[in-house]
Amino acid sequence: MPSYVPLWCKSNFSFLEGASHPDELVEEAHRLGMGSLALTDVDGVYGLVRAYVKARELGIQLIAGSEITLDDDSTILLLAQNAPGYANLCRLISTGRLRSPKGSSKVSLEDIGGCASGLIALWKGGQAVTPLKEAFGDRLYGVVARHRCAEETREEVLLKARARRHGIPLVGAVEVLYHTPARRPLQDVLTCIREKCTVSTAKRRIRANGEHFLKSPVLFEELFSDDPDLVFRTEEVAARCDFSLSELTYRYPSERLPDQTTSFEWLERLTFDGAKKRYRGSIPSAVVRQLKKELALIDELDYPGYFLTMWEIVRFCRENGILCQGRGSAANSAVCYCLGITAIDPVRMDLLFERFLSKERAEPPDIDLDIEHERREEVIQHVYEKYGRERAAMVAVVIRYRPKSAVRDVGKALGIRSRSCDRLARLLSRFDGAPDEKFEQAGIALDVPLHRHFARLSQEILDFPRHLSIHPGGFLLGHEPIANLVPIENGTMPGRTVIQWDKNDVEALGLFKVDLLGLGALTHLHLCFDLLKNHRGVELDMARIPPNDPATFEMICRAQTVGVFQIESRAQMAMLPRLKPRNFYDLVVEVSIVRPGPITGGMVHPYLRRRNGDEEVAYPHPTLEPVLKKTLGVPLFQEQVMKLAVVAADYTPGEADQLRRDMAAWRKVGKIERHRTKLISRMEKKGIAREFAKRVFEQIRGFGEYGFPESHAASFALISYATAWLRCHYPAEFVCGLLNAQPMGFYTPATIVEDAKRMEVEMRPVDVMTSGWDCIMEEREKGRFAVRMGLRFVKGVGLGDFERIVEERSKHDRGGFGSIFDLVHRTGLDVGVLLTLAEAGAFDGFGLSRRHAMWEIRGAVRERHDNMKLVRASKGPEFDPLGSFEIVGWDYISSGHSVRGHPLASLRPQLDAMGLLNARDLRTIKDGSRVRYAGMVICRQHPSTAGGVTFMTLEDETGFVNLVIWKDVFKKFEVIAKTAPFLGISGKIQAKEGVVHLIAEKFWVPGLNLTPETAGSRDFR
């Protein structure tokens, strides 16, 4: 039986070169009966963990290696023999990456020589052989690569001659770029994308033939039939490599404690000190018990350092006035609560600690820390400073091909007209792939062979890595230098270094990750607190916001929640009048119920019926009552599902956690099925009816990965309540803070401004004499404030421009500027910036119309550098005054919003004449009525859980209208529904429980003589 080991395989993590996923290569090697495979991506080990996970699963040996680029652009293959060799390989790659611009790497022969220990080198003949021979000794092999190219023969002859002269053994190889010959076209396309050319102009930049696939042992032996030693020696090389990623030893950094206190003792002391503060000196016995239990486990698993790190980061935030709050399962931990990392008391809320940490889970805990997004960089730099660049690096994010980028890049590589590609890209959504019918819709006929290639390759390239980016806040910290574990490279952002693995890789290897996530809502809150303090002298923070405020909950029940964290979306707004949250726990439920898990698990309607008293609250077994009581017998949270398994099926906490993980992965591998028999039979044993047991299992399965843990929902609900309270009691501060925290949330500034007007907050336009960069509050009368829009919203005006305005504005004795000429001359601003400001009405304060202002600016700019200015004798020409429609339109064009009016307000007479209702009137129409409506699209949503139903939110000057579009209607009107910013709809009203939806039946473009400007829509899955 022939056999060999492919020693030169590049996956698609050799970016835009390899055309197979790492796991595909491993699977194919296994299918072909090979026992080993070396992964040698270019200057990196990006795909190693994915390949390792698959190799472990299939039981084949994965050799860790890399193709290293040298200064002269030649390459050499290095394979790790053992753990020190792997560390050397990572260090060598880090050296090359860190000294080169992002995306490239260069090392010298000296660098290689310095890291040669524990590595096998496969020399392709490109470099001077003597230094390599000295560095690697008998671990240096010459690699004879054959791809049936005539040009290779001469190189092979030279290589063999040199190898013979230096006594270097030879080994055969094929440069594997794809696991199957069918991927050859994709490899050509990837090359064209990399080289920025098309397949027809690529010439010799693409490979001469398709011989770069993973060859079977028979084919490989045939290729080297003239020299069988080259085949045998591949196995010799593989046998010399016995390193596995499982050997990686990793230690979390220990805190340096000068007084000989151990990390655990220090953590214990901090925890109980914190507990005293949290419980005002008297720690309840249940809390003490819980803390001791948690601390014992933390000590046993040797995790104190991790908790101390998180505590230290939180302390840094507090000391520097940065709002932060732990999210996710960390809120299940009393230790985290007492350390100040989280804000929810898990003991009082009866949260399940095992959801966060358990002995059975052989993996570290995951604490995600939300930090106000505008100040997250300060925290990141603090972590670098504290641990040093050697021991701290950010986790990568692999940017992959999604449908839009796929059709654009593949289309360009195939020479398809960019206009066609753009048209197609606009029709695609992130989650639906690139189905054939979209090509037809975009006018790309699939009966043309090239177009068929286009459709097929666009589908094939999906999920391929495009390049590496930085995770928003994931850090890998290590006791030893990180570069011994994984190569480090430069991030695009200055001052950032990033490892070559993403969070899934880090998790797969059980390494500790610290997540510092930016959260706009915390920035929003911080800004509101500052505004309250500065304008009203009200000192407020999260802890001091009055709890259970009835007015706030009244407002929430009316779904007036634009800008309120987590409950502002269309779906949440539709749920609020039905669920009618009246206390904090209702808000926790509200946050978690509008999630794919509960929706697909069929839990929403039973819960609502029981809550409204339409259905009796019943428990399938008395033992389940404590678990499900809080949610009226319906499981809504991940913890409940886990507790259900513990109580009803006698799962250990660890088994329950495994159930949660399998729930998360069931869609991919069907792991959940292995729990079916176990759960049902154990429940039956406890006396629970088989029918109910089955139903519980179905619910668990439906719950999938999409449910929130209760702790996470509670953490978010805290922020939701805080923002809602501010909206209710301090709307001006709320709006001002929200606008200044942009970009964030669900709505555009235009929608926020319209909503503010409906809240009767006086919104004032940008004014070059008074506006700040951000929005500011201006006192109207005692205790009443208006919001003045900031210049940051004017398109094309940069912070530098604003600073020049402020600098000159503050110099003038009387404040401000005497005239437009004065402003133009003193600020020296670019004419484009000045004209945009004029277009936005920022010069209205000078008493000139916008057109006059533009005319004056053009004249003044011309004279700016004229030392002999002429005195202007005459008044400027006459210009037609702008109508209200034009004024609002100009506002939208120049700043994306208008405080002066809504684009549809001046069109209302025309819309009325067409018999079209506005949003306010629509809410009063009875259920089942047929209506016609026209509005501006502000949001499109196509949830995967909605069975093909699309939701849209439209807006006019009186409010929102929510559309429900059934699958067939959407399909019929897809192009207009997806692309038109101003839409007319004919449909039927659905009014239930105070929630009004318009069920769309037909879409059309309103035939008006004017087209309103819009701020665009935000489209979500």
Binding site: T153, R154, V157, V199, K203, R205, E211, L835, R851, G859
Partner: protein
């Protein structure tokens, strides 16, 4: 008028004249030269101008022509009909000012006759600025100010516009106000020079024809020289006895008035052709360019090779064997052998030319040496001669006891085959998959063959010697 370089490109032509003005708009899709239109329009007015900036517009001076045609309308209709014959459609405006006719032609269709300067002004003021081809930034700026038409623009002070929007808006404003006036700048038509000679008895003797040509050249060259021009091409037209016309064109190396050189080229060309019957008429037509004068170099450096002499020699070869007789193989980046070079007309020779050729040959030799051939005899130089078209072989080779008869039973069998070297690709248009082999016969002949997997057939693509 656009020079319509690409088929399918929509060409919009406009035409107008100074006193009586015309604009032509071509709506058909075809390839028309500006010169052809100018020539055609010159039949309607002695003074025709092509708008330099807007290549689609023409002005014609029609002063006094209404007497010839009866009315300006008929004159315009006649032009329209003439242009239609050329598959052109047009907007023609007969008016009083250069700008007025231009602006109206850009915004109208068919024939417009303006009765008075006032009527023209009124009509022009209604023309949208969008039709006048202003820079988008200028037009956008004016539209923002609510200035949408020529009339709006004319209401502004030109000096204010110059300050704010630059010279383009300034000029347009002045034109709109009638403050600017440019005289018509008619084109002049250059005719090629020619000389003719007729015989009563047909002449077929090349030598005699050459001598006749020499006589005609003796007349032509002084005429060319008088115009300070030089000859770049010479067309020899022979009217054959009861046969079609015989036309040949020769080109000297560079523009010249050297009769000796020209007659030598004429002789070579005529000697290379065989006339079916005798000629009864000869016409020589000279195509000329303005003569350039070169600065004489006091101490010219003599190049190691005489490129000029080489050029003259190549010109003689072209004259004798036709213009495609001399080509140059340029290497190209491609995987298929035939895609790795292309034959092109030779570029002007330089002194480094032969060095470059040598380099290329060296490179070829390196590439062409296959593994076994080089390794065994490193000093042996093998040259692969590639056939211009691969020669198909029998579908299935016949293998006999002495080897494989790929070339057929009449040829020696192959005793040694090296390969395959695979070249495949082109999947996006027409997939190619070739397996190349070097095959050596028992007599030592090496051929370069491939198996075309798609066509399932063997081909010989070259020989190695």
């Amino acid at each position: 008028m656009h020079r319509a370089g690409a088929m399918g490109k929509r060409v919009a032509d406009r035409l107008a004249c100074a006193d009586l003005r015309i604009e032509v708009e071509q709506k058909e899709t075809f390839d028309v030269d500006t010169a052809v239109i100018l020539k055609r329009l010159s039949g309607f007015s002695p003074e025709v101008e092509s708008a330099g900036e807007d290549g689609n517009a023409f002005w014609l001076n029609a002063t006094g022509l209404e007497r010839l045609y009866g009315s300006p309308g008929r004159w315009a209709e006649a032009i329209l009909a003439a242009l239609k014959e050329m598959s052109l459609s047009a907007a023609i405006v007969v008016g009083f000012t250069r700008f007025g006719t231009y602006a109206l032609a850009r915004s109208g269709q068919g024939v417009t006759i303006l009765g008075s300067p006032e009527a023209e002004k009124e009509a022009v003021h209604r023309v949208p600025l969008a039709r006048l081809g202003l820079l988008p930034s200028v037009r956008g700026g004016l539209v923002k100010l609510g200035k949408q038409t020529v009339g709006d623009l004319a209401g502004l002070r030109a000096s204010d516009l110059l300050e704010r929007f630059g010279p383009e808006a300034y000029r347009l404003c002045n034109l709109a106000r009638g403050d600017a006036w440019d005289p018509l700048r008619p084109v002049t038509f250059e005719e090629p020079l020619s000389e003719r000679l007729e015989w009563e008895q047909p002449v077929s003797n090349t030598m005699r024809l050459t001598f006749f040509a020499k006589g005609l050249l003796g007349l032509l060259v002084p005429r060319i020289a008088r115009g300070s021009r030089a000859l770049v091409a010479l067309e020899i037209g022979l009217t054959l006895d009861h046969e079609d016309k015989f036309v040949e064109r020769i080109k000297p190396v560079e523009p010249t008035l050297d009769e000796g050189q020209l007659i030598d080229l004429v002789r070579l060309r005529l000697e290379s052709k065989r006339l079916p019957v005798g000629a009864v008429e000869m016409e020589l037509t000279a195509f000329t360019v303005p003569k350039t004068t070169k600065q004489l170099v006091l101490f010219p450096k003599r190049p190691p090779r005489n490129a000029a002499a080489a050029q003259r020699a190549l010109a003689r070869i072209r004259a004798e064997f036709g213009p495609d007789a001399v080509v140059w193989a340029r290497t190209k980046e491609g995987h298929l052998p035939e895609a790795q070079f292309v034959f092109e007309t030779t570029p002007p020779l330089t002194d480094t030319f032969s060095t470059r050729v040598q380099c290329r040959l060296y490179d070829c030799q390196e590439r062409q040496t296959g593994r076994p051939f080089v390794s065994q005899k490193p000093h042996r130089t093998l040259v692969r001669r590639i056939f211009s078209r691969p020669v198909p072989l029998q579908a299935r080779p016949v293998c006999g006891p002495r080897g494989c008869h790929l070339l057929g039973m009449g040829h020696a069998p192959f005793t040694r085959i090296v390969g395959p070297y695979v070249v495949s690709g082109g999947w996006w248009v027409r997939e190619v998959y070739r397996e190349y082999h070097f095959a050596e016969t028992e007599r030592g002949k090496i051929v370069w063959v491939y198996f075309d997997k798609r066509r399932r057939r063997w081909f010989v693509h070259g020989e190695v010697s």
